[in-house]
């Protein structure tokens, strides 16, 4: 999975069901009860990956988790130092993360995180 092409939607949960794989249109839904070390998937057309993950902590820890578990190659296209690469927008429950405290925001159950890349042609 290349960091450059993802629109990543994460839904951290305190509880998640056992491993279920569903494919609907262009989107692969993965619900897992444990943190996967490697995620294999296929996408076509618009690159949207929706993941339900079992995670508790704040945004900083989530970014570390993403880097360790989801980005198979070229992590520098997604994270830069502590935070996301400039040019990638983060929305927490459809609101800009700058309004929620950016990296210090504590994730709550059923939160919806969306990463949108602006670094492509228009």
């Amino acid at each position: 999975m290349c960091a450059r092409d993802i629109n990543l939607v994460l839904q951290p949960r305190r509880w998640a069901p056992a491993f279920v794989l569903r494919h609907k249109g262009n989107v692969l839904y993965i619900e897992t009860s444990q943190i996967l070390r490697q995620i294999f998937f296929w996408w076509g057309g618009v690159c949207n990956v929706n993941l339900c993950v079992w995670f508790a902590g704040d945004m900083k820890q989530l970014l570390v988790w993403i880097q360790q578990n989801l980005l198979k190659e070229r992590p520098e296209l997604f994270v830069q130092g502590d935070t996301v690469r400039p040019g990638i927008l983060v929305l927490i429950n459809d609101a800009d993360w700058e309004l929620m405290g950016q990296l210090d925001y504590q994730l709550e159950d059923r939160d919806n995180i969306v990463f949108i890349s602006t670094l492509h042609g228009g």
Binding site: R4, D5, N7, G45, V46, C47, R85, P86, G87, L89, L91, D94, A95, D96, E98, L99, V114, I116, S117, T118, L119, H120, G121, G122
Partner: protein, 343 residues
């Protein structure tokens, strides 16, 4: 505790505008964004009632938002314009063919006529074939030069009076930086103009209604309005020079969000010293397109491709242009200089 909108103070704020620092809710954001584009259009007197305007659409975020906003403002404020979509097919597999599907969907969603012009029919070369000959560096030159001419040709075929492109504030600021870094004074003076001058046959004036809109706001507008757009990078773009200017600008924006507008402001107010040699606008002797040299860039590039000398348009080989015009054969050393490097 959720932050409230600073404009209506009723709903939850969904974004913080980089331009002003205000926190706005969805509806107030839409209103502010559309109002600003409207003010840009009115202040610069971009359109006259009754004109036919071609919207350059690529299926990406900027052109989709542009088509949406132009249609909306045309109806809301009664500009009296006839809108059309023009799209250019460079022949990049895996990128352009997918984004063209998005443009076709946009055509149906916005109910606007669409014209697609392709490099194949205009020049006989697709970008894939060009990259195979030229290599991975410098191919953006070919794509950009050919695309400008292709847009003009498409506009003439559709008989439009003006073209509008989706260039946003980030694009203009990157262009200013690039021209400073490359020492291109002539372009530095022209690049911040919101619309091009309208002289010459075969040239349609162009404008940038989204010139003062930040890329972040365009993306969020498209996301919140759930507009259909295609979002992948061109497969050849990682080696583009613009990427360096963009990285620098994005880092600056994260420290001080107003830097993008400030760079544009600096670019707009630059004046050139007396006595600096500026190119004079003329016409190409082969195809009649506007050019500051004897042959326009597009003819030079095409000549180079067709003769197997892809580096003809890259770098400064003005003296060889006369030789090419008069169809004289080139010497051995000149040929070697112009061929692409073999690995």
């Amino acid at each position: 505790m959720p932050v409230l909108c600073s404009s209506c103070s009723e709903k939850r704020a969904v974004l913080k505008r980089p331009k002003t620092g205000h926190s706005l809710c969805k509806e107030c954001f839409f209103g502010a964004f559309e109002e600003e584009v409207h003010q840009t259009i009115v202040a610069a007197k971009l359109f006259k009632p009754g004109e036919t305007v071609g919207v350059a659409a690529s299926g990406g975020k900027d052109s989709t938002v542009l088509a949406h906003v132009m249609k909306l403002l045309n109806e809301r404020h009664g500009y009296g314009l006839r809108l059309m979509l023009i799209s250019v097919d460079e022949g990049i597999t895996g990128y352009r063919d997918d984004s063209l599907e998005t443009v076709k969907r946009n055509q149906q969603q916005y109910e606007l006529p669409l014209k697609i012009v392709s490099y194949e029919e205009l020049y006989g070369w697709t970008m894939d074939a060009i990259v195979r000959q030229v290599g991975l560096k410098n191919n953006c030159t070919f794509c950009g030069v050919f695309r400008r001419q292709a847009l003009d040709r498409g506009a003439i075929m559709l008989k439009v009076d003006k073209i509008c492109t989706g260039h946003n504030a980030d694009d203009v600021a990157e262009t200013v930086l690039m021209n400073v870094l490359r020492g291109d004074i002539a372009r530095l003076r022209r690049c911040t103009a919101i619309s091009t001058a309208s002289e010459g046959d075969g040239v349609v004036p162009r404008c940038k209604p989204l010139k003062y809109a930040y890329e972040k706001e365009i993306v969020l507008y498209a996301y919140f309005k759930k507009l259909d757009y295609f979002s992948t990078e061109c497969i050849y773009s990682p080696n583009a020079y613009r990427g360096h200017a963009r990285t620098f600008l994005k880092d600056l924006e994260s420290i001080r969000p107003s830097s993008i507008m400030d760079v544009i402001h600096s670019g707009e107010n630059l004046s050139v010293r007396e006595g600096v040699k500026m190119p004079v606008q003329g016409t190409c002797s082969r195809c009649g397109y506007i050019s500051s040299q004897a042959l326009c860039k597009s003819c030079v590039l095409l000549e180079g491709l067709n003769r197997g000398l892809p580096k003809l348009g890259i770098g400064k080989h003005h003296r060889l242009h006369e030789k090419i015009l008069s169809q004289q054969p080139l010497t051995e050393s000149e040929q070697r200089k112009l061929k692409s490097v073999d690995f």
